[in-house]
Amino acid sequence: MALPLVFFALFFAYPVVAIVGRGLKDGGQWQLGRAGEVLSDPDVLHVLWFTVWQAAASTGLTLLIALPGAYVFARFEFPGKKLLRSVVAVPFVLPTVVVGSAFLALIGRGGVLDDLWGVRLDTSVWAILLAHVFFNYAVVVRTVGGLWSQLDPRQEEAARVLGASRRQAWFRVTLPALAPAVAAAALMVFLFTFTSFGVVQILGGPGFSTLEVEIYRQTADFLDLPTAAVLTLLQFAAVLALLALHAWTVRRREATLTLVDPARTARRPQGAGQWALLWGTLVVITLLLVVPLAVLVERSFAGPDGYGLTFYRALESAASMDSTFAVAPLNALRNSLAYGAAATLIALVVGGLAAAALTRRGGRLVRGFDALLMLPLGVSAVTVGFGFLITLDEPPLDLRSSWWLVPLAQALVGVPFVVRTMLPVLRAVDERLREAAAVLGASPWRVWREVDLPLVRRALLIAAGFAFAVSLGEFGATVFIARPDNPTLPVAVARLLGRAGELNYGQAMALSTILMVVCAGALLALERVRTDQAGEF
C-alpha cells in the first residue's frame, strides 16, 4: 500500500493541492471571501446548473439506449458478438478531438443527416447528449451486461413456474439483482459526463459550459487562479460524493449474488420478440456508434481526386519533410505505443498493489483510499498539468521536460481502471486458500505468486489492456506535456486539425483512423482473454 500511496501523493495530491493552494492564497493571505464571491456569481451558478442537468440527462439517455444492449450482449449468442463487443468499447477510449470531428461530420452542417433529412444537431444540447451516449454506451454494456450474463436465468424461470407473469418475474427477480450494477454504471456515466470537457467544447458551442470547461478557461485563458481553485474544490466535492455513492453500490453488489458461468446463460434468440430486440440493438449500435466511426474512415479516404490513399501517403511523405511540425505517422504511433506501454506498466504496478491492499484490509481508511484512487477521473487535466508545472520543477523531481512525465500522467488515469478490474476478482479469491498456503509455510510473497496470481492472471491482462487503450487515447494531460519532437497520435491529430487546408484535415482523419484501428485491435485482443468475472468496466 505504501507505493501506491507515495505515487498518488507525489504525482496527484501534491500538484493539485499546490495549484489550488496558490489560487486560494494571495501573498500569504487566505482568500476565503473569494469563494463566496464566486459561488454567488450568476454565471457560475448557470454553469453549475447546466453541468448537473446535462449529466443527469446524458445518464438517463445512456441507460435508456444501452440497457437493451446490455441484455442482448448478456443473454444472446450470435455470430460476430465478440467483434461487436470490442467495437462498442472503441469510442470509450478514443480522444474527444477525433470523435468531435466524426460527430460534426455526421450531425453538423452538410453532415450525413443534413444531406438526408436536413437535420442538424450541432451546437444544440442534443449533440452533447448523443455524443455522451456514444462515449458511455460501453460502460453500461460492460458493467450491467457483465453481471447480467452471470445471473442464473433459472431463477427467473422458477418464478414463472410459480405463477409470476413475465413482468412480475422481471421486476421481482432480475431487476433487484441488477439494480446495484445499474446504479454503479449510472454513477460512472454521471461522473464522466459531469466532468465532460472536449465534447461540450467541440459540439456544444459557446452557449454551453460545464464546470470542467469553466475551470479550464479560468486557468488557461484568464489565469484567474482564485476562481479556478474555488471551482476545482466544488468539482472535487461533487466527485467525492459520487464516488462514495459508487463505492457503496459496488459493495452491495459484491455481497449478495451467486453467479454462474456466462457461457451457459447466453443462447440464440428465440421467437419474434427476441429477434426484434437483437436487430433493434444492432440498428442502434450501427447508427449511434458505427456510423460516426465509419464517417471518420470515409473522410480519411476521400481525397481530392476521389477515394484513395492520398492522405495516408501524405502522412508517410511527411516523414521526409523538412519541418518540426511534420511527424511521420509511424513515429507518432511508436510514441503512442511506447508511452502507453510505460503508462500501463506503472498503472499495473500501482493499481495492482493498491487492489491487493484493498482486498486484504477493511475499514473506513481503506475505503477512503479506494475513492482517492478514483479521483483522477474527476479532476481537470489542466489543474493537474499546471500543478505539475509548479511542483515537479526542481531536482531531483524536475520532471517537466522528462520523457516519463507523459506516462506518469497517463497512468493516473489508468490506475482506476486497473483497480476496478482487479478488485472484484481478488475479492472473490477464497481467503482459505491463502490461509492454507500460509499454514503450510509459504511467505506472503509466495502466497501471492502461487495463489492469487494464477487466479487473477486474466484479470490482470484485461486491466493492462484497458489501461493501455485509455493511455493511447488520453489527450488532456498529454497535450500539456508531450514533447513536440515526439507527439502521440491524439496530439498529432489535434495539431493537424488546427491548420487550414484539405491536406491537413485529411491527414488528421487518416491518423484518427489509425488510432482507432490500434485501439480496436487492443480491445479485440482483450476479448480473447476475457475472464468470467466481468470486473466493473
Binding site: G110, I202, T324, A341, R495, G501, A525
Partner: protein
C-alpha cells in the same frame, strides 16, 4: 488451460516488445547541458529541421523545443513557472498578451541583432528590448469566392460592409472567450469603432445574423463553405480566419490554380505580432541570446512563412511565392495598445459574451 497459457505467453511477449519500444523512445531525457538551449513555445511553433541544424552549426548549441498548448496557455505556463523557468527563450507571446508577460517580469532585456531591419511599428517594447518581434499575422474575415461569384454579389471588404443586408446570416466567427482569432476579431472592431462604439457594432452584427462557434476548427473546417476540408458543405461563405489562410488552401493542389479559392476582406483585419524574449533566470543565458539573434536572422525569417503561415518581422527577406501569389497584403490593420488589452481584456470578453451569446 492451454489457450489461457498461450494467451498469457502472447501477452507477455507483446508487453516485452512494447517495453523495448518504450525504452528506445526514452532516449530524450536531457540534463542541464551547456550545449543545448531550450526554447519554450506554443503549439504552432514550427521551423525547418535544416534551419535549426544551421543554428547548431553556427553556434554549437542544439535547440530543444518545448511546447505548451495554445498561445495563451503557453504564456500562462511561463508566468506560473517564472521562479524556475522551463527554458531559456520564450517564443510566441503576442501583442494581446504582451503586457501581462511584461508586468509579471518574466523577461530579461536583450537587444537582438538584426532589429534595424524590423519596422518600428512592430517594436512594441522599443525602450527596453525585453522582447523581440519575430513575426506578424493578420486575423481577417475570409470569403468563399465561388459563393459570391455564383450569387453575383461582391464580397465584403470592411467591418461596415458586414452589416449590410446582402451579407445577412453569412458570417461565422469564434467565441472571444475561447478562441484567439475570435478575440482578435473583437479587438479589430474595438480598434475600428473605439471603446464607445464597438458594442453598438456587435449589436448590429448580431441583428445581421452573425453566428458564433467555440473554436477556429469548427468555424473554418465545418461551417465555412470555402474550406476544402469541409468539402464545401459548410453553409457560411464568410468566416473569421487568417490573412494567410488562402495560400494554405492552395497547398498540395495540382495543378496550381490561378487564384486561391478563398479571399480576404482586407478592411476587417487585426494585426498580431509575435515576440520572443530571454526568460529571466535562464540557465543558458548566452545560448538564449544567440538563439534570439538567430530568430531574427535572415535564415530563420525566410523559413517563417511556410512553417507558421505568418509574415517575417524583417522587411528585407524574401517571402515565398505561395504567399505573394495567393496571399493578400494588409495595409492598414487594426491595432490596440498592449497595455490597454491587458487592462480590459476580461471585461471586454465578458461584455462581448453577454452581448452576443445571450
Amino acid at each position: 488451460m492451454s489457450t489461457t497459457r498461450r494467451a498469457t505467453v502472447t501477452a507477455l511477449a507483446v508487453a516485452a516488445g512494447l517495453t523495448a519500444l518504450a525504452a528506445c523512445g526514452s532516449g530524450g531525457g536531457e540534463s542541464a547541458d551547456p550545449k543545448t538551449v531550450t526554447l519554450v513555445s506554443h503549439d504552432s511553433f514550427n521551423a525547418s529541421k535544416s534551419v535549426l541544424e544551421e543554428f547548431t552549426r553556427q553556434t554549437g548549441y542544439k535547440v530543444n523545443v518545448l511546447k505548451g498548448g495554445d498561445a495563451g496557455k503557453a504564456v500562462n505556463q511561463a508566468i506560473l513557472s517564472k521562479a524556475n523557468p522551463q527554458g531559456d527563450v520564450f517564443f510566441g507571446i503576442d501583442n494581446t498578451l504582451l503586457s501581462r508577460g511584461l508586468k509579471e517580469g518574466i523577461f530579461s532585456p536583450y537587444q537582438a541583432k538584426g532589429l534595424e531591419s524590423v519596422p518600428e511599428e512592430l517594436q512594441l517594447d522599443k525602450a527596453q528590448h525585453r522582447v523581440t518581434p519575430v513575426d506578424y499575422g493578420d486575423t481577417c474575415v475570409n470569403y468563399d469566392r465561388a459563393y459570391f461569384t455564383e450569387h453575383k454579389i461582391a464580397p465584403p471588404r470592411t467591418f461596415d460592409d458586414l452589416l449590410k443586408p446582402e451579407y445577412k446570416g453569412l458570417l461565422v466567427t469564434e467565441n472571444s472567450a475561447t478562441s484567439s482569432p475570435g478575440l482578435a476579431f473583437q479587438l479589430g472592431t474595438i480598434a475600428r469603432y473605439g471603446e464607445s462604439g464597438w458594442q453598438d457594432y456587435w449589436k448590429k452584427l448580431k441583428a445581421n445574423g452573425v453566428e458564433v462557434v467555440d473554436g477556429w476548427e469548427q468555424a473554418y473546417n465545418e461551417r465555412f463553405s470555402g474550406s476544402a476540408a469541409g468539402k464545401g458543405k459548410g453553409d457560411k461563405p464568410l468566416v473569421v480566419s487568417y490573412a494567410s489562410s488562402p495560400p494554405v488552401e492552395v497547398l498540395g493542389k495540382k495543378p496550381e490554380p490561378e487564384e486561391a479559392p478563398t479571399g480576404v476582406a482586407t478592411g476587417t483585419c487585426f494585426r498580431q505580432t509575435e515576440f520572443a524574449g530571454l526568460l529571466k533566470g535562464a540557465k543558458n543565458e548566452k545560448g538564449g541570446k544567440a538563439l534570439l539573434d538567430f530568430l531574427l536572422s535572415k535564415k530563420f525569417q525566410e523559413d517563417v512563412p511556410l512553417q507558421m503561415f505568418v509574415n517575417p518581422a524583417r522587411t528585407d527577406v524574401k517571402v515565398p511565392e505561395l504567399f505573394t501569389k495567393y496571399g493578400e497584403k494588409i495595409d492598414k490593420p487594426g491595432t490596440v495598445a498592449p497595455e490597454k488589452i491587458t487592462e480590459n481584456r476580461e471585461r471586454w470578453i465578458k461584455q462581448w459574451s453577454s452581448l452576443v451569446l445571450k
